[in-house]
């Protein structure tokens, strides 16, 4: 039974570029959440998708956007990258609201 899978594992971008991160939820899960984890900090909630719609959003600017597909997989897009966007981006899936199961994350480095 495959768990939550994220791609890519590591990504290097420069300031001003755009990036897309991908997530496939655990089998049987219908909800996907995205978190940003800065070095040495706990994860911060970006947003959650359910039934292909953004159900809740954390305190992140509009540069962060997402999408959920009919097969429940999801993408996180970040535009106009800033140095401060360097972080580990975690995807979590659940059936309905919780408990949330996490993937290995994508390490995004901005130069």
């Amino acid at each position: 039974d495959a768990g939550v899978t994220q791609s890519p594992t590591h990504l290097i971008k420069t300031r001003g570029q755009q990036v897309t991160l991908r997530c496939s939820p655990k089998s049987g899960h219908d909800t996907v959440s995205w978190y940003q984890q800065a070095l040495g900090q706990g994860p911060q909630f970006i947003f959650q998708y359910y039934e292909e719609e953004e159900r809740q959003r954390g305190n992140f600017p509009d540069r962060f956007s997402g999408h959920q597909f009919p097969n429940y997989s999801s993408e996180l897009n970040v535009n106009a990258l800033l140095l401060g966007d360097s972080a580990l981006y975690l995807c979590a899936s659940s059936f309905r609201a919780q408990p949330q199961h996490f993937g290995d994350g994508t390490r995004l480095s901005i130069l």
Binding site: T31, Q41, P99
Partner: protein, 117 residues
Amino acid sequence: AQTVTQSQPEMSVQEAETVTLSCTYDTSESDYYLFWYKQPPSRQMILVIRQEAYKQQNATENRFSVNFQKAAKSFSLKISDSQLGDAAMYFCAYNEDSGAGSYQLTFGKGTKLSVIP
């Protein structure tokens, strides 16, 4: 806004001994969920244990157990018979009941646990 506080940035324990990690939270809700997640250097956030606020009985999962004190808003994790593989960052997390319209996990800053052979 809900907050989760982990007051111990780092802890250490001898192999086979017991250690307790502390967590406090702030909420005005009566129905919610609390979690402990483990994050080893491999990065994956692994669910260790979950507690529903309406349940008075403390949750247990093998060597892991919690001490849930709802009135004090305290949620500590006890690891018994510590093993080298328990070394990791441990995060306490809070989730409101979905009926309240909030679905996000709110995390503490974590406690780094070292296990000494």
